[in-house]
Structure formats: C-alpha cells, structure tokens
Symmetry: C2
Subunit: 300 residues, 2 copies
C-alpha cells in the first residue's frame, strides 16, 4: 500500500466530515464558530481520527460507523492545543506556523472555543451513536474511552503532571508517567474507539490496544527526538522549544541514543501485536513504521 496516498485520502474524509458536522450546521454566535474552526482547520495531520479509522478497518468495520468518533477525537485534540497555547499555560504565539487561537481571537474566546470543541465532540459522538443500526453498547463504551483518555487520568492529568515536572529533574519514570497520559492516552483511546465501534472481538481488542499503547508512546518519543533534531518544517514548531521550557522529555531523561533505541523497541511491540491480523491491518502497521522512522530511520 501507498501510505502517503492512504493518509491523504483519510485526512480528506475526516476534513469533509468535520465540515459537514460543524460548518454546515453552524449555530450562532458567529465569532465562536470562527474561533473553533480556525484551530480545527489549521492543517493538522488528523493522526487520531486516522488511527481510529484504521483500527476499525483492521476488524472489518464500515468507516461510516467510526467517522463521528474519529472526528470527535480530532476536536478534542484541537481543543487541547488551544488551551495548551494559552498565556497561562505554554504561552505560545505560533502553532503550525500560524498565530495561535488567543493571538487572533483573544484569551476569553480561546478558552471558550476550546470548551466548545470539547463539548461538541461529545455531542457528535452521541449523535453518531444514536444512528440506525449502530451498536449502542459499543458506542457508549467508545464515548467512555474517549472521556477516560482525555480526562483526569489521561490527557488533562498528563498536562498537569507536565507543568508540575517543569521544576523537577526529568527521570525516565516521570517522563513515562507524563507521556502515557498527556499524548499517549488519547492516541491509545483512538485505536480502542475504532476497535470498539468496529465490533472487535475481545482478543482483537486486546491486540489493538497493545498496538495503541506502543504507538501512543512512540509518537511522543519521536516527537521529543524531532524537537532536537528535526527542522521547523517537520514539526511546525521551533527547534529546541522543549528544552527552552524545561520540559520533561525522553532525550533529557535517557540521552539521545537510548531514546532512539526505545523508539525502535516500541515499533517492534506495535508490529508484533498485529501479527495475527491479515492485510486489513496494513494501514496500522504502516502508520507505526511512519511514526517511528520519520525520526529514527531504519539502518540500511
């Protein structure tokens, strides 16, 4: 399969659906819509929705069933970036090369746009779950997964731990604790949601979950590497920003060599979790390869 083409097609599908759900059904006030859409349509890679769709595919599900959940995951990711960038948080002026939400709309509107994206994500999932012939128990489990991945034991908790760690020396334990929550939990939730709504057997679910845990961490490990070694064009943010903010990162805790080794180990974990899956899981495999090899190319 051609991963690049696959990602492009899926990204378009997600963008179309997000537009249908949010732009075609706008409700006033206008400014709130503008602020929400500004961040939601600012050129993200849509990795969370694509992971959800690919997990659904791996268990043979129709994409239409997964799409509302996939979109909700992206909306939650988007809200988290808007709030993270606020002056009281990371105080960032640029995101993906564009002024951050509060720089354009002001702080109050950015807080509310984030709140709106988070709340609407759940409305859209409930709406998707109420569709005809949708398995409602699976849909409710998926809503639970998303909330758990995004909430106090997941993303929000990780963000708090991240802020608190800025005053501490980063150890491997602290870094792992932060990243399994801050980014790992929602990425893992993404594959779990796809598997749940897609009707995975409990054996399939366990394996996809193993994959998700590994890829969720790999994503952050490689992000940490790219923050040091990647250019702005690869990451969309300034090189060295983590070190500047004294962030707890893998290279700071393990050194660069061990961090790269760890990324390769996580790739192995992700791929071996999918061993019993056939060609339908090829997108999941290719995504794991892509995530790791963008930062740690395979040795020739």
């Amino acid at each position: 399969m051609n991963l690049e083409r696959y990602l492009e097609q899926r990204r378009k599908l997600v963008d179309q659906t997000l537009k249908q759900l949010l732009v075609d059904h706008e409700t006033p006030p206008r400014t709130l819509n503008k602020a929400m859409q500004y961040s939601l349509f600012s050129g993200g890679k849509r990795i969370r929705p694509i992971l959800a769709l690919a997990s659904g595919e791996a268990v043979g599900a129709r994409l239409a069933r997964i799409l509302p959940f996939a979109c909700a995951l992206e909306m939650i990711h988007s809200y988290s970036l808007v709030h993270d960038d606020l002056p009281a948080m990371d105080d960032d002026d640029l995101r993906r090369g564009k002024p951050t939400n509060h720089k354009v709309f002001g702080e109050a509107m950015a807080i509310l746009a984030g709140d709106g994206l988070l709340t609407e994500a759940f409305r859209i999932m409930a709406q998707g779950a109420l569709r005809k012939r949708q398995d409602r128990t699976a849909a409710l489990q998926a809503i639970w997964e998303v909330a758990a991945g995004a909430g106090m034991a997941g993303m929000v908790g990780g963000q708090v731990a991240d802020i608190e760690a800025e005053q501490k020396k980063p150890t491997r334990k602290i870094v792992e604790y932060i990243h399994t929550r801050k980014t790992g939990a929602l990425l893992r939730a993404s594959v779990r949601v796809g598997a749940r709504v897609g009707g995975a057997t409990s054996r399939q679910f366990t394996r996809i979950d193993q994959y998700g845990t590994a890829v969720g961490l790999a994503f952050q490990v490689t992000d940490d590497i790219l923050d040091i070694e990647g250019g702005t064009e690869k990451t969309g943010k300034r090189v060295g920003r983590d070190a500047e903010l004294n962030k707890a990162t893998y290279p700071a805790a393990l050194g660069m060599k061990k961090t790269k080794q760890y990324a390769r180990e996580l790739l192995d974990d992700a791929l071996s979790a999918l061993k019993t899956f056939g060609p339908k899981a090829e997108p999941l495999r290719q995504i794991a390869l892509f995530v790791v090899e963008r930062a740690v190319p395979a040795e020739p």
Copy 2:
C-alpha cells in the same frame, strides 16, 4: 411537602454520589483532584442535579438511574463557573464567599480543572449508561442533551454572546438570546435528561420540557433581580456586580417592574405545563415557586 427538607435531602444525595464518583476513585495527579474538588464541593445549591432528579421522579423513575447524569450536570455547571471566573473572562476573586479557583491554584490549573470536570462529566454519564438494565438509547439521548445544552448552541455560545453584548445597549431580544443559552440551556437540559433517562412518554417529555424552558429563564430573570435587590447572603456575590460589568440583564432591558411581571409569567408557564401531572410532580412545582418567589414574593 416540605421543600426545604426535600432540597436538603437531594443535595446530600448528590454530594454523596459526587464523592463516590470522584473522591473515592481519585487518580493522580493529586493537585488536579484538589483543584477540581475545591470548586465542585464549595457549597453549591445543586439545582441542576435536583431538577434532573425531580423530573425523573415526576415520571416515576428510580433515582439511581438518574444520579450519574445529575452529577454530570453539576460538574459541568462547576467547570463553567471556574472558567467564567478566570482573569481573561469575568476576573472574579470570590465565588460563594471563597477565593475563586485560579486565586488558589493558579490560572493554568484552573483552566485544566475546568477541562477535567467537563471531560469527567461525560465519562461518568457513559459509565452510568453502561449499567445493567439501563435503557441505552435513552442514556445516549441524555448525553446528547447535556452536550447540546452545554455546547456552542447552549452555555458556551451564551457565554460568548454575553461577552460580546458588554459593548452593546441591552435590548430584550439580546438579553433573552443570551440567557436562554448561558443559563437556560443547561437548566432545561437538566429536566430533559431526567425525563429521558426516567423513561418519559413523548407527551410527558414535551410538558417537562416546557416546564424546563420556563424555569430555566425564570432562574436568570430572578438572578438579575437579586443582583440589584438581594443581599450578598442571598446571592453569594457582591450586589451590583452585573451593572459594574455592564452585563446584559433583564432589569437593564425591561426595567424592574416589567422584569418582575415577566418572572411571574414564567412561573405560570412552568406550573401550567405540569397540570396533567399528579403529586409526583410536586417537587418540580415547588422548585419553580421557590425560584421565582425568592425574588418576587407573591402578593398577599
């Protein structure tokens, strides 16, 4: 019935359940829990959960079915207060006579505590919906109701409209637009949720919804009155704060006399919507009376 005793019992039931759900099942980080609990357990009247429970009662439902949803409504109300008080929003130092969340925990933590309360509210609803013998379609409808009432067409949208109106002369239309969304939508959602999860017939649902629309507005109309005529002990905030912030209020748009008339009309609407209900709807009736008469006593 003795309303005071009823409200006290229900408040206790809600508090107990919130403690079970959040305090007994704490997950680190500790600071996040502390910040979330600080605002959630700061002596609110629990009016939204009580409305949800009373609506469930009115259609003969068991309270246990409604409780997770009732608690979620209070968590969402609590998050909205934490975010509203932020320096970028209303910039309030006191809430119910205590320092606001960001005054105690800092701005970043207050933003995250709000995000956490909002997200966990949906986790708790999904969890409640997945219980044995819960009607999952009704539960999903209830989750939808809450998200719609709290989201961009509801509370968040109303908050944006409120901020934007600070620069305008308040007309009745603007005030009504703001308040049906900012406070009305979540109060209305509260009774709708109780009716949905409680298994209301569609005729019962329509009537309870009419009641909710009227009471939701009455709540805000009387709040506006009390902001001028009530003492701090009745409202928990400084008298005249709305005028100070140039807020769009009913007295500013209609004058005090018409505002009081309007409150009595809304009370009539609320009570007549419940005419066909028997004694099981007595709590709903008494709550409507209480809401309006705390600000506009019946003439002798």
